[in-house]
């Protein structure tokens, strides 16, 4: 087993290193797009964790494709300038269609009422993440912390919910976002922007939804996760340094992240095997 085959290296060191290098380069060349470094770090990790093949086209591969679609949409938004309500609705519509495409194999054989409940509930979750994370796009440090905390909690909860694959992927995004948070403290001109927040919302939302539908992530975990983008908007005293501010935001989000993990742990039971 080589170093790059180690799950811990794949979902922590690899995305962190790629994000660090790329964010520094983008920070010099095009600071507005620095958030893209997080997504690049995630995709390098995803290539190691899950491979680059597209067949069979599983839900996980569909999610990775939809994340790339989100990158394209975010790039379009960057080049077109401020987006209109219509453009935002089109993006949300595309992502909802993507969610249903990803969920279809699991929904198609469930009773209609259960399938509709799942689809509607998860649609609300994804749309909420899209809107709430997008609202943080111009605040790089809170944006990075929101992605990091959402990813950490959802990643650990997914592993407890019997899917190491999805847990590893989500954790890779959290690790990359963690590096971005540290960089925003050192290089204040870095921007999160839609290039980070749109793909991150799509990936976090869809991967968590997949962990619920295809593994055993309880819905209560998603409810606690959904509070994170709201809690991060709680105003803090203005005179705090950026580092203290970051530490306080992490502390502020810890209970919600902890409850999301606890729900998964409680639901799975504590027997290791």
């Amino acid at each position: 087993m080589t170093l790059l085959d180690d799950p811990l290296i794949q979902s922590s060191l690899v995305p962190m290193t790629v994000t660090l290098l790329l964010a520094v380069v983008l920070g010099r060349l095009w600071p507005r797009s620095a958030g893209l470094a997080v997504i690049a770090g995630f995709y390098v990790a995803a290539a190691l964790i899950h491979g680059l093949t597209l067949t069979p086209l599983t839900s996980t591969r569909k999610i990775l494709l939809l994340g790339l679609l989100a990158v394209v949409l975010a790039l379009a938004r960057e080049f077109l300038g401020r987006s209109s309500a219509t453009q935002r609705n089109v993006v949300i519509g595309l992502i909802i269609a993507g969610l249903l495409w990803m969920l279809w194999p699991a929904l198609s054989y469930r009773p209609l009422a259960e399938a509709v409940t799942l689809a509607v509930g998860l649609t609300f979750y994804i749309v909420w993440l899209l809107i709430a994370l997008d609202a943080l796009a111009d605040q790089p440090m809170p944006a990075g912390i929101a992605v990091m905390m959402l990813g950490s909690a959802a990643g650990i909860a997914s592993v407890l919910a019997a899917t190491a694959l999805l847990g590893q992927l989500i954790s890779a995004l959290a690790a990359a976002a963690g590096v971005f948070v540290v960089l925003t403290l050192l290089l204040p001109k870095l921007r999160a922007g839609p290039l980070l927040m749109l793909p991150a919302a799509v990936l976090l939302g869809l991967l968590s939804a997949a962990a619920l539908v295809y593994a055993k992530l309880p819905a209560s975990s998603l409810l606690f996760l959904a509070t994170i983008p709201a809690l991060i908007r709680i105003p803090l005293p203005a005179n705090l340094t950026a580092a203290v501010r970051a530490a306080m935001l992490v502390l502020l989000l810890l209970p919600a992240a902890g409850m999301a993990i606890y729900s998964a742990w409680h639901s799975a039971g504590d027997l290791p095997y």
Partner: protein, 188 residues
């Protein structure tokens, strides 16, 4: 004229062969695909699939036929619910997306003693690969309990799960996976 006689004889022979092909339905109560896999070099983990269905066409004169077996992937059972949930997840069998594991062979042929290798296609987790199913023994006879004519097969094969895209935790959990199929089928 000789050619015509030969052709007629061949035709008659093939019709006889066709006539002796019989259809069988797999008995789910006596058909269990079992598997074993290495666990970190410490031990060998055994499991089975509880629900299997399928059809056989078998000609006992020529010992040839075809087989279609469908295994309910969600019926995996290793005796521990939490591990079974994990086996059903996208890490392994991904049963929500790929609910069945299938084996099919169109031109199966056994030796006269009922042993042999059946070359077919195994589909698992949405990936199809050719496999050779080694039939260690087989027997066709009247089942004294059900009073139905039945055939039974004891077959094994070894696959690499990574060939089917099931790569989680290799090499800790072995890549080589032995499948042991105990099949009983009653004549229709």
């Amino acid at each position: 004229m000789k050619k015509w006689i030969a052709a007629a004889m061949l035709g008659a022979a093939s019709m006889t062969a066709f006539a002796s092909s019989e259809n069988y339905t797999i008995d789910p109560l006596h058909t269990f695909p079992n598997f074993k896999i290495d666990h970190m070099g410490f031990s060998t983990m055994y499991g089975r699939f509880g629900t299997t269905s399928g059809k056989l066409v078998f000609d006992r004169d020529t010992m040839s036929g075809s087989v279609e077996i469908s295994i309910d992937a969600a019926s995996v059972n290793t005796g521990f619910q939490k591990r079974d949930d994990h086996l059903r997840s996208p890490d392994f069998l991904n049963v929500a997306e790929f609910p069945t594991i299938t084996f099919s062979a169109k031109d199966a042929k056994l030796n006269k003693d009922g042993t042999g290798t059946i070359k077919g296609q195994l589909t698992m987790a949405g990936v199809t690969r050719p496999v050779g199913l080694i039939v260690n023994r087989s027997r066709c006879d009247m089942n004294p309990v059900s009073k139905k004519f039945a055939c039974g097969f004891d077959a094994t094969t070894r696959i690499k799960r990574s060939d089917f895209g099931v790569k989680y935790a290799i090499p800790g959990i072995g890549d080589d996976m032995d499948l042991m199929l105990e099949i009983e089928a009653a004549r229709d």
